[in-house]
Symmetry: C2
Subunit: 391 residues, 2 copies
């Protein structure tokens, strides 16, 4: 391999001992199990599935998660849309409110790949911009109105009929397709009680149905009612009136989702492989070559009942050491120690020993890397799957 080749290596070092560290490992069996569980759950609830690809950012993972190789899917950047369209995905929602300057790029993806790429918006001002773009370009862009499920971020209030209808009428008058409504119950990430999350899921569903009903009452179409977050997807007990769900992080899982209760620690499919590069015995520290650059700066578990530091430490087989975690991280250094207050023993590990670290946040940790080393059932590396980053 050329030293400067930006592309991902195609030969596979099959042993974890041979990989350059730090790097990402992806447990394919766990990934497939997480996807199967979610698909069965959604089938039982009678809703469609439009997995969010923002966590995995990987075509091979997308093909496992999607119901068909052509989609449907959700993306968080137009670079993802381009990447997945080139890989055969034809049905996508770009799930971040559209800026007018991005419409030409959306149109180029739709045209080049004959892709059904839809955008979202939550203001008449954006609807005006879309209508102007449709008029100029002759492409009847599909649009979903973003509705605010829980005050977390963006979206029209679910009972604000005046705004919903004004946006819908403006889009249709301008020649765009009003595809439906879209919500994201982001506040559910702050919960950990299954009953409370189920209530958040019901609130998300009710808000979605409210907005859809208001549009239909005004004589406007609303074929799609799209909701999505991993916690609410996991704990929803009925989704009447919803047509599709867009969860994403569930397929990989992480310590934060385990803290919410959306997955078990044994469901987490992603670890960062690292090497021991030093020790400070008097302090009870092992230094590894995975710092925050390899794990991300995400400290989401600091706000949960159990703070997992920068991650939990496992052996090469993926088995956790009791109470061993990354208590701190510098750019390329991780400090491994026993959890404060625990009387667990610090393992005796030589320089060069390999450890696997379970991350706080799969979306953030994944984004620090350009590839996954995929583990098969034997724990060997069976493939290298590229990831896409950037915008």
């Amino acid at each position: 391999m050329d030293l400067l080749a930006p592309d991902v290596q195609t030969t596979v070092d099959s042993r974890l001992e041979d990989l350059a560290t730090p790097c990402l490992l992806l447990d394919e069996a766990r990934l497939r199990r997480n996807v199967t569980t979610m698909k069965q759950h959604l089938a039982a609830l009678g809703v469609g599935f439009r997995p969010h690809l923002k966590t995995a950012k990987c075509l091979e993972v997308a093909r496992i998660a999607m119901t068909q190789p052509s989609g449907p899917a959700t993306v968080s950047t137009l670079r993802e849309a381009e990447f997945f369209a080139a890989g055969g995905v034809r049905d996508m929602i770009y799930g971040v409110g559209i800026a007018p300057q991005k419409l030409d790029r959306v149109g180029a993806i739709r045209k080049r790949f004959a892709a059904d790429l839809a955008v979202i918006l939550d203001s008449v001002e954006q609807a005006d911009a879309v209508a102007d773009w449709v008029k100029t370009n002759g492409d009847a862009l599909p649009v979903l109105i973003e509705v605010d499920a829980d005050g977390h971020r963006s979206g029209v209030a679910p009972h604000d009929q005046a705004t919903l209808v004004a946006i819908g009428r403006r889009l249709i008058a301008g020649g765009a397709q009003l595809r439906g409504v879209l919500l994201h119950a982001g506040a559910s990430y702050g919960l950990s009680d299954p009953v409370a999350i189920a209530a958040a899921a019901e609130a998300e569903r009710a808000a979605a149905v409210s907005a859809a009903t208001l549009l239909r009452q005004a004589g406007l179409p609303c074929p799609v009612v799209s909701i999505g977050s991993t916690p609410t997807a996991r704990f929803a007990t009925h989704l009447a009136g919803v047509t599709e769900l867009r969860a994403g992080v569930f397929m990989i899982g992480d310590l934060f989702q385990a803290g919410v209760g959306s997955c078990a620690i044994d469901d987490i499919a992603l670890t960062v492989l690292s090497s021991v590069i030093g020790r400070q015995r008097a302090k009870g520290w092992i230094i590894v070559d995975a710092g925050w650059m390899a794990l991300s700066r995400d400290r989401g578990t600091a706000r949960q009942a159990v703070d997992q530091g920068y991650g939990l430490v496992c052996d090469l087989a993926g088995k956790s050491y009791p109470d061993l975690m990354l208590i701190d991280a510098n750019q390329e250094h991780g400090i491994v120690a026993v959890r404060p207050g625990s009387d667990a023993a610090l393992p005796e590990l030589p320089i060069g020993a390999r450890l696997r670290i379970l991350p706080n946040h799969a979306c953030a940790t994944g984004a620090q890397h350009d590839r996954y080393h995929v583990l098969d059932d034997s724990g060997a590396v069976s493939a290298v799957w590229p990831r896409i980053n950037g915008w």
Copy 2:
């Protein structure tokens, strides 16, 4: 440009209004000013300069920061070493404790580019591994012993003559070059009082000189005495006995360093360009398309006297709006609002308006991107400079 081309575009959109957002902007005049100030300061102190390239990870920036196109320089990953060696840098220290498995890659870089790439270590166990490697490969690898300046991370205690000498003797007996000692006063990042930082700089210097003296007293060579951190570099008043300094983040600056006092906010050369994609008027929120993916999850200023959220918000000319900051961030959404407690007005900005965000941590924010858009004195984009990420 091909939609999937992983390489960086070579044509330049010269107007900020034409760039796809989010993206990185680098103010070249500020970068050059920061470098000039540091070089003058170090020249006055009589020490050499080996800039750390881990923040910029960019050849064009390296050439501005280094005293010569061939170096010296410091790198934090072997991928950086390969990238900068290919760009003509020949004198580098890989400033993270060496794992034995990485020695072959170090040797390959040294051989392919005829580069003087040195490694660091802090244990006899590592020295044994290096000695074995040198014996097998016949390459007299240069090695610095990492010394612990302040209990922050790695390193031999500065007064532990037995360990220092044992490492040094093992290296020399094995045919490696004992190049010297290396320290990093990482604890200085937790300070903000110039007097305290000057004291930390003096402690770092004294520890370095102590370790070097102990080696020399044992008849071992110690030509290089290398220290480095941006705060201690900034506030050191004398560096007798030190031969070189390795600061890195100073060249770009960030809100965290401004909180430490290592730079002024007007020295920060890096911003993230973003677009307004929504508003929640009742809450006083403007939503932009720069979330934590574009800014990183770094919230280092949360531990400082002034918490800057996920960053301070500026207009297109780089002028801060009074008390306007990113109060929260999702993956691709930033929530802009007036600082809690401030009575500053929220600016009235249309959808699609452009904002620039000053980051908490230049190393972390930079790593989320693969290129810099370089601004000239007129505020136009004069060039696109690629960055290297990964390992």
